[in-house]
């Protein structure tokens, strides 16, 4: 990167030019959209609010990717399925609670019950995944673990299809979450607050508990941590468990805004959350949270903001293009992600 002057790498140069062209397109599109004045200020605000709600969910899932990457250097592609398992199982409790009227008489209690169940199931799945699929492969080449992760992802998808059926299930509507405050949907607010509180809890856990310290130590240097008396296996399990809890909560939050769950629901959010983790700098916990929010907002605002300005019809079909274009741009200009890889561990 720093080879300036005569020693500019030719392929690097081309990549930079492509990157700059893409950026220029984004800028031109933005300017021309803003000039048309098609959207009101309130509509822009709505785009951002939707983006934040979606982004909070990405952020919670991304934490699972980034923490596991931090301690194991493994990209756990089955994490999207961990998310799905919790949300899908939570449906059955939510549905039962709706049928006996609990959800209307005691909405907060019911919501907590559903979240607890969902988090418990996701955690269980994440732990089992680590124990059965990854532990034996810890010393195997990276690619082996990666392929295993993809295999585990399919295994989980189709297991849950077998367990719960292949159709779409729909979460019941919670009456007190209907309507809006200051023009913002209550559900969005709940999701945002839920996600932020989980992030704060996670931060406190990582920074202030013994296990949190162990996780940080293992992610910095496994062998030294082991020599210092850290139980590595337990720590890694704890990391998966924490990732599972986050994914389980994300699953219920997802169900609050989107209602529908099915066995395939984890795939796309999983890929998006992985993107978010890389955006923020993989292995970096605040980075994952930020990456999720940035990705959510860009996906929501982007098609209207710069694709429409470029005269592209049906811009929202290209939503995913924006997400992955961002990933490409980040990898070109700042390969370690926005906040940098493993920043948190360097600070310790």
């Amino acid at each position: 990167m720093r080879r300036l002057g005569l020693r500019i790498d030719f392929s690097q140069l081309i990549v930079w030019i492509i990157g700059l062209l893409l950026l220029a397109l984004v800028v031109i599109g933005t300017i021309s959209t803003l000039q048309t004045g098609k959207y009101s200020a309130q509509q822009w605000r709505d785009f951002v609010v939707f983006g934040i709600a979606q982004g909070s969910i990405y952020a919670l899932i991304a934490l699972g990717y980034t923490m596991v990457y931090g301690v194991l250097g493994l990209i756990n592609f089955a994490h999207g399925e961990v998310f799905m398992s919790g949300a899908f199982t939570g449906f059955f409790l939510a549905n039962a609670l709706a049928e006996n009227g609990m959800i209307d008489s005691n909405p907060i209690l019911s919501l907590i019950a559903v979240i607890l169940l969902s988090a418990a199931v996701s955690t269980g799945v994440a732990l089992a995944l680590e124990r059965i699929a990854y532990r034996r492969l810890r010393r195997a080449p990276r690619l082996v673990a990666l392929i295993t992760a993809i295999g585990a992802s399919f295994f989980l998808q189709y297991t849950f299809r077998g367990l719960y059926g292949s159709g779409v299930k729909v979460y019941p509507t919670v009456e007190i979450l209907q309507g809006s405050v200051f023009g913002i949907q209550k559900t969005m607010i709940v999701v945002f607050i839920g996600a932020i509180s989980m992030l704060i809890l996670l931060y406190l856990f990582i920074q202030n508990t013994k296990m949190g310290k162990a996780i940080r130590a293992v992610s910095e240097d496994v062998e030294t941590a082991a020599l210092m008396g850290v139980d590595v296996n337990r720590t890694i399990s704890a990391t998966f468990a924490v990732g599972g809890v986050m994914a389980g909560v994300a699953g219920v939050l997802y169900a609050i805004i989107f209602k529908q769950v099915n066995f395939f629901m984890g795939f796309i959010p999983g890929i998006k959350a992985f993107t978010a983790a890389v955006l923020g700098g993989i292995g970096n916990i605040p980075g994952a949270a930020m990456g999720g929010l940035v990705l959510g907002i860009f996906e929501s605002v982007g098609p209207s903001l710069f694709l429409e300005g470029l005269g592209i019809p049906a811009a929202y079909q290209l939503k995913d293009v924006i997400a992955f274009l961002m990933l490409v741009l980040i990898l070109i200009f700042r390969p370690t992600g926005i906040l940098g890889e493993r920043l948190a561990t360097k600070r310790v």
Binding site: K38, G167, V168, T173, Y316, D320, V321, L327, P335
Partner: protein, 454 residues
């Protein structure tokens, strides 16, 4: 490490590209399955390949018995001959979506096929009827996989499928190459029977969306009195073409299409696209898409400011209790176009009674009767062209079978009087518009959707 990211990014990008390309029939079917299957049937009739054992449970002993006399085979056919040994079944196949959010659309059609087989008493010309099938999903990839598997089973006489037009665009050429015939009771995309793209092995008893889109536009403009509309499609052949037909007709009538948007199959967050549409303030949104995405659009419309009071309209892809589940009360008051059940022939009442008797519920979606008619067309044609040999072996020449189906004229089916044209359109299209009156799917069908037009 950077290289690993490179690989990951590539995987991520590729998977999205694949998903995005899902809408277009870019994949050209492979040649192998076709060749394999066209040669197979005539020469060595019942040598059970692995695939066909699943379908025919005939013991090998019988098979060898049949192969002894191919020299005396009196029936010649350019596409091959299906030989059904005495006591063996005549095999029909379905290629329908039987998993995922659109499951009920496929199950509904399969029930139509089963009831049609029942109507023949479960047997034809002294041979029992048997139904096998593959899941064609609702995507080009699913269509390709299902068609390739079915094409490799030389005992299959005809196929009822697919559910979704995007599956058919890929499946039809594979089935055609294999010499088989496929009739769909639910593929409605205009392109499938467009002379430029139509393959001989494909026919349909479902209406052509040129009709459905036009009826929807006429209802919106003439009856609802809206003059501005927006459309959303999901990149599938069905939705895109239907949205276009609607837009064309609506503009022709004097209305204005203010936005033509699209989402991806699998998208969940429709609020952004709806906000974008809201800035063009249409009076009606027409979104002829499928269950999952249709549910998201319907339930999220109410959360977008600027769309209060907008009228919603969709098409037969959402005409199922699953959609009512997915959308809940938000669906109440919206309009769905679908085949007009009340215009169906007298036999439909009887069909409904049999359906209730066999499955214990009302039909799950709209194309059961079309699938029933499709099966009847195939079975009638088999009856016409099949030649029985002295030893009881039944020979069904494939080209003759196709010709017999194409020759269908004024056939009194459940869905009306069917006449097949040379492009494979057999339907007697009667389209109605229904209004959703309840968000409780357990009351399906009469108390949930009511006909409002014509």
């Amino acid at each position: 490490m950077k290289r690993l990211f490179g690989v990951m990014t590539l995987i991520a990008m590729l998977s999205v590209l694949l998903a995005a390309c899902g809408g277009q029939p870019t994949t050209t079917p492979a040649e192998e399955p076709a060749a394999e299957a066209t040669e197979a049937p005539a020469a060595e009739p019942a040598e059970p390949t692995e695939e066909s054992t699943e379908a025919t449970e005939e013991p090998v002993a019988e098979a060898t018995e049949v192969t002894e006399e191919p020299a005396a085979d009196p029936v010649e056919d350019p596409l091959g001959v299906v030989e059904v040994a005495p006591g063996d079944s005549i095999i029909l196949a379905y290629a329908q979506v039987i998993s995922g959010p659109n499951e009920t659309l496929g199950v509904d059609s399969i029930r139509g096929v089963e009831l049609a087989m029942d109507a023949f008493g479960g047997e034809l010309l002294g041979h029992p009827l048997e139904l096998v099938g593959e899941d064609s999903l609702c995507s080009p990839e699913g269509g390709q996989a299902a068609a390739t598997k079915l094409a490799s089973n030389p005992q299959i006489v005809g196929i009822i499928g697919t559910t979704c037009s995007s599956a058919a665009t890929v499946a039809a050429p594979i089935i055609d190459e294999a010499g088989m015939v496929m009739i769909s009771g639910s593929n409605t995309a205009p392109a499938l029977t467009d002379p430029a793209e139509h393959v001989q092995g494909f026919l349909r008893t479902a209406h052509n969306d040129k009709v459905q889109g036009a009826v929807a536009a006429e209802y919106a403009f003439n009856v609802l009195g809206v003059t501005t509309a927006a459309t959303i499609h999901d990149g599938s052949v069905y939705a895109e073409q239907l949205a276009n037909v609607f837009a064309e007709r609506f503009t022709e009538l004097g209305g204005q299409i203010v936005a033509q948007e699209a989402v991806n199959a699998g998208d969940t967050d429709m609020r952004s696209v709806l906000t974008s549409i809201a800035s063009d303030s249409p009076e009606l949104i027409y979104y002829p898409i499928f269950v999952a995405e249709g549910g998201f659009v319907t339930s999220q419309v109410g959360e977008v400011s600027g769309l209060e009071g907008v009228k919603l309209m969709a098409s037969d892809g959402l005409f199922s209790p699953d959609f009512i589940d997915a959308a809940g009360d938000a669906a109440v008051g919206m309009y769905l176009s679908s085949p007009d059940f009340s215009a169906f022939a007298g036999g439909y009442e009887d069909f409904l009674a049999k359906h209730e008797e066999r499955y214990g519920e009302d039909p799950l979606s709209v194309f059961h009767a079309n699938a029933y008619d499709a099966s009847t067309l195939i079975l009638n044609a088999v009856e016409q062209v099949a030649v029985e040999q002295d030893d009881g072996t039944l020979l069904i020449p494939r080209q003759a079978l196709r010709d017999a189906i194409y020759a269908t004229a004024d056939f009194a089916g459940l869905t009306g009087n069917l006449t097949c044209d040379e492009n494979g359109d057999c339907a007697d299209p009667n389209i109605a518009v229904y209004e959703v009156v309840s968000g409780d799917s357990s009351l399906w069908q009469d108390e949930v959707v009511q006909k409002v037009y014509p």
